[in-house]
Symmetry: D2
Subunit: 339 residues, 4 copies
């Protein structure tokens, strides 16, 4: 920790800060300049309160933390990449995993039709929402448990693994009975009771970035899950909110991938469908995501986007999705990875 | 609804769109320009799917909604201001209500000390968190039910009304037993199961704006609560995330107050403590909030900010809070309101 | 300056950094923790290169500056408020100054009509653009020198002082012949040759915040003008770009006023017209601006907004402007200021 | 154009709007719903004033433009890609062009050393600033004309083409004598006199996106140059400002590439150095830029980043730059392009 103080209040004021630091177990070193005094403080008890307690003391201009606030998620804690096993496949290893499917589970027929097409494409993970977080209470909110049942049936018929969202602490146990991967949506990145609850499930968790989450807040959300006992966290970049949504619903922040791969050991995947909101942008951004080093992609595919109950404009038709897979495969190849 | 189409794909493509609209109950009128065709469509069934279904049709460039997506919260639905009664006081009427107290309930003594001071200041509502949403799992998470009990004791001793946050659907019933107003925090603005659950409580709900909520998303969150049966919603501006947090943690968007007062009939209050994150900015922004037309303020006050377990740097000491009340009272006076 | 280093690269790597700092005149103090080493460095030559040179050295994680990067604009350099004299009035003192007028000078008649109305309202400064920065090359770009002549005529007829924008280094001398205050528009906040050129004019400079300027970048722009010899700089908050422009074109950041009053000694005014883009929001935000401590307002007024060649929707009609002045005057009164 | 009106003000109010539109040459069609009336208006004179004039009329809620505001830059105006010739190379064609060099020209020796290394790498365009837009007036502002002379010498010695920034209308002629491509920096995207001036030079213009430019504002800046007679505009994505700059200085918005390739016919390149501000992120983002479809890259390379007078932390050392070229070449290959 570094404490920056003004010089114009006298030595006594500085000594009070030094004493408080030392009482909390810190060793301190002062550097006195003309305008500022810097107090370097190391080795303290890492009390979460001490930083704030110092911040409000007289003469203190600011307090700067130098340690990252997360541990279990950090590369320093675990050097090697986390590889998450899912039956016969793995996520975070050499193979890039694609998750594909409709935004929402709309009906048994719709889901089985698209699941079959996805299975035939070689993709191994099916996405589809049974519980849908919708901005408007007047729009389709999901088939709920019925939707989960259809997902389970699709898994049985195709052998695809299932990723689906859970929004309510009271439903985690239920959703975990059906899903292979639990998704935490962008609006729940800081729903801490929910993070704590999915941690208890022993299922891998797909943690989407919040619309305006900083990199650090996002890792801290992963840390909540890990600290509560579940280390199988997959980070998913899905676009951040910017000042311009005229041509892309969000800004897909691909630099987050190499940044996260540097700071953490967790797998990082990219959602170019929500990240752009426009089907025409999904393929180029999927190519870029793999080129930047993503471990996977999650993509909305719908057999009949014009009948989709949500997010139709960002859904790919099956044929376009097949093209995407071919293009992405070429990029994966030169990156030394398989698809 | 307005559908904008390209002219270069022929009449047949346009007719398909017109037919789809008419089949869904819309009357349509076409305006054909050289580059674009505009189809005005009115009177349809307001199906939430129709907009998206049209959006993905061939030749359609965009679909523009002209009706606001909310009803119950709108000024058009209810012309007069909603005034929320709370025992012997009311919120949204002539009197500006101040809610004050510590960020978190830390101990029985801390709470009773500050509650007494607040009571003496003439303020009628006590704030204090028993459940704390914290970015880090390593920091203080609140005293939970014990904190609620202390709040109830403070109410009994002082007659202050209590506003406190609820974060988990499973705790709504419990918190509602203790609180006079349920607070939905900024991170839960789109936690739809929680919005639905607090709607069932029959307690007024203080709905904080999300860090990057648009005005419309925020009103839609209120609409969730209202559509589920609870019309006592208080909107609280608390700062939005911007590109510069060096001197103010967030940007307090005071224009939201007159905008919301125009679009909705709900009371609107302002949180200058979280909105700035710096105690020096709290008083000037509180004055501005009242000058712009806010119905209330929510302010962090702590008897010993240097010992606060959270948000110390934005807490006012009691003396500074008394000064703030005096200054704000003068502004309220020239605005024709009381404090 | 503080240098944060990793501990895992050995003492030699640390010593290289210490030597480089000392060679540049710094005194250094090291604090060695388990994960990080902190080097406090004070008293160096303030070479602008040294920070970057250290930043790229082996083992260096980050370098944190503790001194603000500006001098002349800082409160530490000059304690008392800068008050700018303009003939018989002053800006930055007890009296709040209002600048009012049309977005653009459109014709001699238009300008003289509105100038007369403004004069009658008691306001002393007339705004109006002769050179207009327009997003589109197809829209009205201003009357140029003819517009300046009309402004001069309006001054002669009414005694109002004139503030008008200059956009081109080649026009500074010309505009300065006509204007009492030179305006640097939001798009030119970092047009450094223009800042340098207006510095030579000896006219007060109204420096609008850029659409996404940080507080520090904005003060640095003022520093450019001051370092080049002109200390008469007026800072003008005019709204920043955010993620939501549906109901307000920009977000008027009123917290910038008390922040700037703390960091600098320069006068700070607010532009609620551009800051919101909607005439209905201008009056409430003008009240709030005065309540938060602004030294002035700049407001668009047009006798016939429906005929305005630019920014009609944010222009006030004269009658509404008179009402605004009355309301603002009341707030000014309780703030201990005059209008 | 579409005019949305309220229904509650009576027929007369609507007729006034219809008449005004028709007087301005529009054909109109009305769609009357219960809450809103839609007036589709096509074929008018495209007066820039008419939209605003309608917007402020009684009963008008909003006016929506349906035509894009630019012409010359649009794909509709020119279907085929613009390919810019530069001696024996071209930009916007099959070959991806890389521009490389130091942030600033610091000395003759520095420039010749790096130019030789770049030449040997196979790259054909040298970047380097002689005029530097710096946030602080206390930092290095460039060698100015001397820098231009060194650039010319480097071109003569190596055969590299030169791209360099111009910041001042008064220097355009001078810089154009030395440069092969004129760069408009991010801070000058809406410096309209400068855009107009570089249009007269007949040199290709590299137009960097502003820190918070929307896609449309950026294209409009290109339109300024094109309307003034210079159609050789290269668009350069260089990162936008976001709420998180802790790990990346800006957010490099790669979706801008396919968006711009759809809307315009101009070449689009990417600057991963400024876009991230961190050398470790430059290579992965360069790969992604090519995968997304960029026509070129502009990259900062410095033989001795620790001595660079600006932007050292984002500069690649020559060896790392060679690696980048190899990796990017592989991606270019599978994209069907050469490097």
């Amino acid at each position: 920790m570094i404490v920056v103080m003004n010089t114009n209040l006298g030595e006594e004021v500085v000594q009070k800060v030094v004493e408080k630091l030392q009482k909390n177990g810190y060793q301190t070193h002062e550097s006195k300049g003309i305008e500022k005094i810097l107090i370097g403080a190391v080795g303290g008890e890492k009390s979460p309160y001490i930083k704030q307690a110092i911040e409000v003391m007289e003469g203190v201009e600011k307090v700067i933390s130098v340690l990252v606030p997360y541990k279990l998620a950090s590369r320093e804690f675990k050097q090697e990449n986390t590889v998450i096993r899912l039956g016969d496949i793995s996520l975070g290893g050499e193979q890039i995993q694609v998750m594909a499917g409709p935004c929402a589970v709309e009906s048994r027929e719709q889901l089985l039709e698209i699941a079959t097409l996805i299975k035939e494409s070689g993709v191994r993970i099916l996405r589809g929402g049974a519980y849908k977080p919708r901005t408007s209470p007047y729009t389709f909110q999901g088939l709920e448990e019925k939707g989960l049942e259809y997902l389970a049936e699709a898994r049985e018929k195709t052998g695809l693994y299932i990723v689906t969202e859970v929004m309510d602490t009271r439903k985690v146990e239920l959703v975990a009975q059906y899903a292979d991967i639990l998704q935490i949506g962008t609006r729940n990145i800081q729903n801490f009771p929910l993070l704590t609850e999915v941690a208890k499930s022993n299922k891998p968790v797909l943690l989407k970035r919040g619309l305006s989450s900083t990199i650090e807040e996002w890792i801290m959300a992963a840390e909540y899950i890990m600290l509560n006992g579940n280390h199988q966290v997959i980070l998913c970049e899905r676009g951040i909110r910017s000042f311009d949504s005229a041509y892309s619903r969000n800004v897909l922040d691909l630099s987050a991938v190499p940044i996260l791969k540097g700071l953490t050991h967790l797998p990082v995947i990219v959602d170019p469908s929500h990240g752009t909101g426009k089907w025409r942008l999904v393929e180029p951004m999927a190519r870029a995501a793999v080129a930047v080093g993503a471990d996977g992609l999650i993509i909305e595919v719908h057999a009949h986007p014009e009948e989709a109950v949500c997010d139709g404009p960002q859904c790919l038709k099956p044929q376009k999705f097949m093209n995407l897979l071919q293009e992405v495969k070429k990029i994966a190849g030169v990156m030394g990875r398989t698809l």
